[in-house]
């Protein structure tokens, strides 16, 4: 492997000049630029990352900007992954500052303004509120600092990386899982249990994907769908009547345990239930057989990969993919433990 010094020798210039060319710092004659570039090409120079970072001696500070995990297990998982990455990369000079926003637009805006003031080298961000996030990202992009989003994607913004699920496809997959138990007639319930505050439309995309599965499969005509929407605060509105004659239930988010709990309490059996995320409560109902399928979007891995993405880009100066869709994992009782 050729070094800068060697290149300098061959080109008959100083290492400083070679360095300037490699880093496009300018202040070099075109003649030398060409000469050195030719040599680099010929010998396939790759800079020694150990030496580079040692000399560079830079600390990297990443900012993590996520919803606050108040009581919600869901947002703990990416944090776990982030912390794992943080430990792993701390020896490479990576440190992380955390900023959380509460689950409302006002809190988001307030914290977003703060984050915009921060001096950092990279940002990991979950864009829960779409419109606000777009405003924030538009502003943040001016800083020319790499951003990676997890959990939900804001496709409207360019030049920002995304690591997370393909929400539409995951709904499509859920459609297939529901269709496994098909009978003569199939009554499918879609229960949307959401927060008071409207967030990005991940769950709507899932439902869209869910329907498109049945549209794509003409042979599955005997499926009837009913949608129910319940605010998080009045889950008491669940009613045994809703489930009369129902064969399967699709819950397009992690609240599936609420429905499972209800069905178990009321001793309603034989309904196939499909939902999302490996929350402890969901796993309980998976283990005891109330829930059949969970679709896992690996939130922990999203967090880990998010930081790892910034690390690779900034510390190792590697090329990284802009979009990484997490594999859609089908989790049942028998493969849960192997999926960590």
């Amino acid at each position: 492997m050729i070094t800068i010094k060697k290149i300098a020798e061959i080109a008959n210039v100083s290492p400083g000049t070679v360095d300037r060319i490699i880093h496009n710092r300018g202040q070099v004659s075109q003649e030398n630029v060409d000469k050195v570039n030719a040599i680099i090409k010929e010998f396939g120079f790759k800079k020694n990352i150990f030496a580079s970072n040692l000399a560079f001696n830079k600390k990297f500070n990443f900012v993590v900007f996520l919803p606050k995990n108040d009581g919600l297990e869901y947002w703990q998982a990416p944090l776990d992954g982030i912390e794992k990455a943080s430990e792993e990369f701390s020896r490479f000079g990576v440190s992380i500052d955390y900023h959380f926003y509460k689950y409302d637009s006002a809190s988001f805006k307030k914290m977003a303004a703060k984050v915009l003031e921060l001096d950092c080298d990279g940002l990991l961000f979950a864009p829960i509120f779409k419109e606000d996030s777009i405003l924030f990202l538009d502003e943040f992009k001016k800083k020319k600092i790499p951003v990676v989003m997890i959990d939900s994607n804001v496709k409207e913004i360019e030049g920002v990386s995304y690591i997370g699920q393909d929400a539409n496809q995951s709904g499509y997959l859920a459609g297939r899982l529901i269709s496994f138990g098909k009978k003569e007639e199939n009554k499918v319930l879609i229960i949307k249990i959401t927060r008071e505050i409207e967030n990005t439309s991940v769950y709507l995309q899932r439902i869209k994907g869910f329907y498109s599965f049945f549209e794509d499969h003409e042979e599955l005509t005997n499926f009837k769908f009913t949608e129910i929407k319940i605010k998080d605060s009045d889950v008491k509105k669940l009613d045994t009547k809703m489930f009369e004659g129902v064969d399967s239930v699709f819950i397009p988010n992690s609240r599936i345990h609420i429905v499972a709990q209800f069905l178990k309490e009321k001793n309603i059996k034989g309904i196939r239930i499909v939902g999302y995320d490996l929350l402890k409560k969901n796993i309980e109902f998976l283990e005891d057989g109330t829930v059949d399928f969970l679709i896992n979007q690996k939130p922990e891995e999203q967090g880990y990969r998010g930081i790892s993405h910034l690390y690779k880009k900034l510390v190792l100066k590697e090329e990284v993919e802009e979009i990484y869709y997490m594999p859609l994992e089908i989790i049942i009782k028998e493969n849960y433990s192997s999926s960590h």
Copy 2:
């Protein structure tokens, strides 16, 4: 973060002495050992991996010892992963030598002898022939060089890492997948299509796990099992009669496409088929609906993680887990593309 130089200053010794203590090179007075260790503890010293590797200036050579990929797509996947890792880590001084053995014990022994002669820093190995592999590993272990196994585990040998599936559990999972379509009476066919040469008993473990699923579920009594064994060379022995009255088929290895092909040709429909591995041919039949479930053991990732394991252990000198079981991925048509 404290440095060796700083420690030396505080302890009133030279950096050389601190270095000797950190690396247990001996030749230091106990007094200094204690003094320095106390400081290290107090300040939480972690050595700068950039400086360390730069000064160490060592190249790492890993040996990959796998079955030859002659015509068998199966063994290409781990190679792909290995090559990806190889590229990624080449800038850290990692290089890889490949040694392949043909699918017979004699060839294995011959190559194993060669590998034993090699001078290397780490070994990635797939122990296909169990007894021969034990002999080989026993010998190789004397070199005190880290070994990581992929694909199948040899539990009899200690101090050797493993990255791969939990074969028994994967069979158990297959049991569940078969049980999804349960009817009044269920006739299940287990078709073992294997090479002429007997290899490690991965597929037998899978079958064992498969049966234990049904043993663990007493409610599934109306399942009848038939086993058929066919040598790879005479797949022509497949017979429509075999499938009469059969509801589902379990193929405990990647040869599921052979059965799928047969069923498709003979236009036999309505049989649930479960098998292993995302070979191109298997995917074809997954896509066209002949095959319902494939269990993926991510061979590519096994290769990648194998090299990454050695890299972390040797280059970064990190602690690494001895055993890593790959998640058991359930692959159906609708999540195949997201699983890469």
